[in-house]
């Protein structure tokens, strides 16, 4: 599969949006060369504020700008804004429902060598817990551009999680993202894998392997974690009778927990979960870590086989 950087796409999309809307303002905490907000900063220096290493302050500044009519994008690494600033996100943005878009990079363990301090694996549980937040994890660069545009044009708090490494392109050019809607990226009738982010490409790989073994596996990308596309989950449960959820996140509070709530209430079927479990990872190359912690196409395929047996 061809690959592209979601971060670079983010920076370029911001510039595009900045040209259309003079009320778009961007904040970063000394990481703009990494988050790629630097591209926006070069074109619109007056509307870019490097807040230095004052992340908690940055979230409050964003709230003040948003309360004054700005559409504010806030970027740094996931751990520094979601984990460090949870109380600020809660009281300054979620509770007053302000128009702030947290677009954070370096999600998951594919951050790699920097180690567990930098691995963002709790963020989906935290942000999905915030009332009024919309939470999006794009599967590739094309979906990233679409999601960032959707965040700009829909009022209210957003969290978008991006990755450090380049990610495989899952979608054709011209793909149109609809906020809150799942996308069936591969049809199938024996089981469904529901995935987000980098796990979508892995799920497609797994489906190819399973097809050779006679299992016809559906793959659904669920870019919007909140609000969740319940109808797509119920349909998949009804039509395929088994669901595997794959995410680069801890077991608790992410996509798996959210899908399971819908399945148990509306259409109970056997489920399996591919995630990090309940542990921190270590330093290593991204691909090495995905292998070590059970987040490969092979792991997904194994889970599908075992869930199909339970039907």
């Amino acid at each position: 599969m061809a690959e592209a950087s979601t971060r670079e796409t983010y920076g370029k999309t911001l510039v595009e949006l900045g040209r259309q809307n003079k009320d778009i303002v961007v904040l970063d905490a000394d990481l703009s060369p990494s988050t790629m907000t630097s591209i926006f900063a070069r074109e619109f220096p007056d509307r870019f504020f490097n807040c230095g290493l004052t992340e908690q302050n940055m979230v409050g500044v964003a709230a003040g700008l948003a309360a004054s009519g700005k559409t504010v994008f806030v970027s740094t690494f996931v751990v520094f804004v979601v984990c460090r600033c949870f109380d600020q996100l809660r009281l300054c943005i979620s509770q007053p429902e302000l128009n702030v878009k947290i677009v954070a990079t370096h999600g998951g363990i594919t951050v790699g060598e920097d180690g567990s301090s930098h691995h963002a694996i709790e963020d989906l549980a935290l942000t999905c817990a915030l009332p009024s937040f919309t939470v999006v994890v794009p599967a590739d660069a094309i979906e990233t551009a679409e999601a960032v545009k959707a965040a700009a044009s829909n009022y209210g708090p957003f969290y978008i999680r991006l990755s450090r490494p380049k990610t495989p392109i899952v979608y054709p050019e011209g793909y149109h993202f609809t906020l809150g809607k799942a996308v069936t990226v591969r049809q199938g009738k024996d089981a469904t894998v529901i995935a987000i982010g980098i796990m979508v490409a892995k799920a497609l790989e797994a489906a190819d392997v399973l097809a050779r073994e006679g299992i016809d596996c559906r793959v659904i990308n669920m870019p919007t974690l909140k609000p969740l596309d319940e109808a797509a989950i119920v349909k998949a449960a009804s039509e395929t009778g088994a669901i595997v959820v794959a995410e680069e996140h801890l077991a608790q509070g992410g996509l798996g927990s959210r899908v399971a709530q819908v399945v148990t209430r509306r259409k109970p079927v056997p489920m399996e979960f591919v995630n990090l479990g309940d542990r921190y990872a270590v330093s290593g190359k991204a691909e090495e870590l995905l292998q070590r912690y059970g987040l490969t196409a092979g792991d997904i395929a194994e889970s599908v086989k075992s869930v199909v047996k339970r039907k």
Binding site: G64, L65, S68, K70
Partner: protein
């Protein structure tokens, strides 16, 4: 007017049976000066784009802000009696979503100055002339975020921003100097790049002249360290830590209201 607002604080918290009278009374003169002399605002039009912004960072002093907003005409004075009650617009701590005239939700300390920086930056971006005022408690200057914000406001040269610290010297469990000493306090702000001055926070003239003086300072934000007395105006509440977060009983309220006649 300040006395009237103090009476409201006593009646409101006694009626609610909970709340924070001490820090509301210490801020009464500052709030009165702001709402009835300093701020350009329009109670008929709380979202007037040109209005001066007032941000209450010490959200537990909500009763004194509500009292001022009601007397200024943002909502009926009778509504003050609904403080902290189910379905009231007057939440226990300030809540932007419910109350006309409340600019920011607060209650977790140390967040207001950052919010005020965003508001002041927006004024600069939009070439607006409104000023942004923010009231902090001394206790919340123990929060790291306050100092992150202090750095930022000076870095961004926000001369359209005035911070006022209600320095009553007490926090929930005792004297600030014993719990987490802030001194030398005014010099800290100076070192962070602020124009800073000390005043008596119960002297109306000093408050007004400090606020007016701040408008003339260019290239840096101003902090007014207002030395105050917690519980000011009610003898048995003054410098009495018990009334940080405890409402007066009816009997105490009656005595307090008599003193405030």
């Amino acid at each position: 007017m300040a006395k009237k607002l103090r009476r409201h604080v006593i009646a409101m918290t006694a009626t609610a049976g909970s709340g924070h009278p001490g820090g509301s009374l210490s801020a009464a003169d500052i709030i009165t000066a702001l709402y009835f002399k300093v701020l350009r605002h329009d109670p008929e039009n709380p979202q007037w784009p040109e209005r001066d912004r007032f941000i209450l960072s010490k959200g537990h002093a909500a009763p004194i802000l509500y009292a001022a907003l009601a007397e200024a005409g943002y909502f009926p004075v009778a509504e003050l009696a609904t403080l902290r009650k189910l379905d009231s617009r007057l939440q226990g701590h300030t809540d932007k979503k419910f109350t006309p005239g409340v600019e920011m939700s607060a209650g977790s300390l140390g967040m207001g100055l950052s919010f005020a920086i965003g508001v002041a930056l927006a004024a600069r971006l939009d070439s607006k002339t409104y000023r942004t005022y923010v009231l902090l408690s001394d206790g919340e200057c123990e929060e790291g975020q306050t100092w992150e914000a202090a750095l930022s406001a000076a870095h961004f040269k926000l001369d359209n921003l005035t911070a006022i610290v209600d320095y009553n010297g007490m926090q929930l469990s005792g004297w600030v100097r014993d719990i987490m000493n802030l001194e030398p306090f005014t010099r800290k702000w100076q070192a962070f790049g602020w124009h800073s001055l000390d005043i008596d926070g119960h002297d109306f003239k000093q408050i007004l002249s400090a606020c007016q003086g701040a408008e003339k300072i260019k290239g840096k934000p101003t902090v007014i360290v207002a030395r105050t007395i917690k519980g000011r105006g009610v003898s048995f509440m003054e410098n009495n830590v018990v009334f940080h977060g405890k409402a007066p009983t009816w009997e105490e309220a009656e005595r307090a209201l008599k003193e405030l006649e």
